[in-house]
Symmetry: C3
Amino acid sequence: MPLSAIERQYAVQRLLARYAQALDADDLEAWPDFFVDSGRYRILTAENLEHGLPLALAQADSRAMLRDRVAALRHANIYEAQRYRHLVSSTVVEVVDEEVSQEVVRAVSNFMVARIMHDGATMLFATGRYLDRIALGATVDAARFEERLVVLDSSRIDTLLAIPL
Amino acid sequence: MPLSAIERQYAVQRLLARYAQALDADDLEAWPDFFVDSGRYRILTAENLEHGLPLALAQADSRAMLRDRVAALRHANIYEAQRYRHLVSSTVVEVVDEEVSQEVVRAVSNFMVARIMHDGATMLFATGRYLDRIALGATVDAARFEERLVVLDSSRIDTLLAIPL
Amino acid sequence: MPLSAIERQYAVQRLLARYAQALDADDLEAWPDFFVDSGRYRILTAENLEHGLPLALAQADSRAMLRDRVAALRHANIYEAQRYRHLVSSTVVEVVDEEVSQEVVRAVSNFMVARIMHDGATMLFATGRYLDRIALGATVDAARFEERLVVLDSSRIDTLLAIPL
């Protein structure tokens, strides 16, 4: 029985919500498991994307590469100096190819991320769009990212590379 | 068959999401098409609204006026100097008159808009509420605004008038 | 007939949305009515929670205590000097005990609150998580908080105690 538009929306938003919660809880080890084995992850700037220069600030082409990334982050981040808080909204879901499958969808969402420093100072850290391709599964929590492009509005990227977004 | 509350919520949130995505993508030409022909658009401050002085900072009473507004913005904005990012949440939907129709609804939502300057500096630009009256259609993407009141929390309005919200 | 996952999600998000709207409209008198009679409310810092020191910055153990709190706030806040705007996203809902009941759920959400001063200056005021236990009711708007833990990301708490979050 094909999923209805509302069921797809629910499955997508739940995946996005669980992803955001995991990152904000510093549960980086769970991060690769939101992707399929061959999942692609990119951080880009909007300016680069628009100029046809898809130079990624960070990239991974498989879940294994994401796991390596987590290990590197754990090694580097000796001190947990700050927290992050993701807000996500305005998720628009479209079926990629209605005839082939109703279970692979594209989703576009807006996000803001706040950074909270150890001394309590809070700042708006990053804003942008998520451009996702998602494989829905047999159950709601089986949904996984085939691709997640994180498109940053700002081109100030100095500190953005340190963490998953 | 009347729409269920969940179907109405889905249709409203999808309209709001597509609207936010269009503005943030600088797709101003699509903006008027989110309204019915006689659609009303207002930007007000919360202070003005509460004091019964509904002086609009910006207003349009038809889709044609919205199109004129877009043309003026395109003429004035020679340089695309900044980006905007809308976050919308907490949408509460109510049927206007259950007996007459279940297809015209009021929706109240909260929003924040970030502005990202050309040099990458990011700031919290505007916050407020959307007070919407929406005509749902035969299909989900046929939903249109009959009225959208943008109620700004702040009365600092100098730079707010330049763009649709 | 048990509620479906989508119906539970809808009921939870509507409760959270109505709560946010009420606070932002300064409708504090409505605040206790979002809780059951024995409803618990706590504001904690993430740091305290993680270190097993659940010292609440604010707490109430019943709707009656919440009403007292509102009365105190009304007495103290002679001047309405600022506005607040809540954004809530990424709500993940889980049934507490599938076998006993599908009508008591836990929900985790992310939030940001902006503060808008009387002179119009707008700042990011607080970020964090809501950890909620919610009793769903016979109708959607009968849902009530059995417990709401507001977990602040920042430990700078000087001005956070003045208002409900």
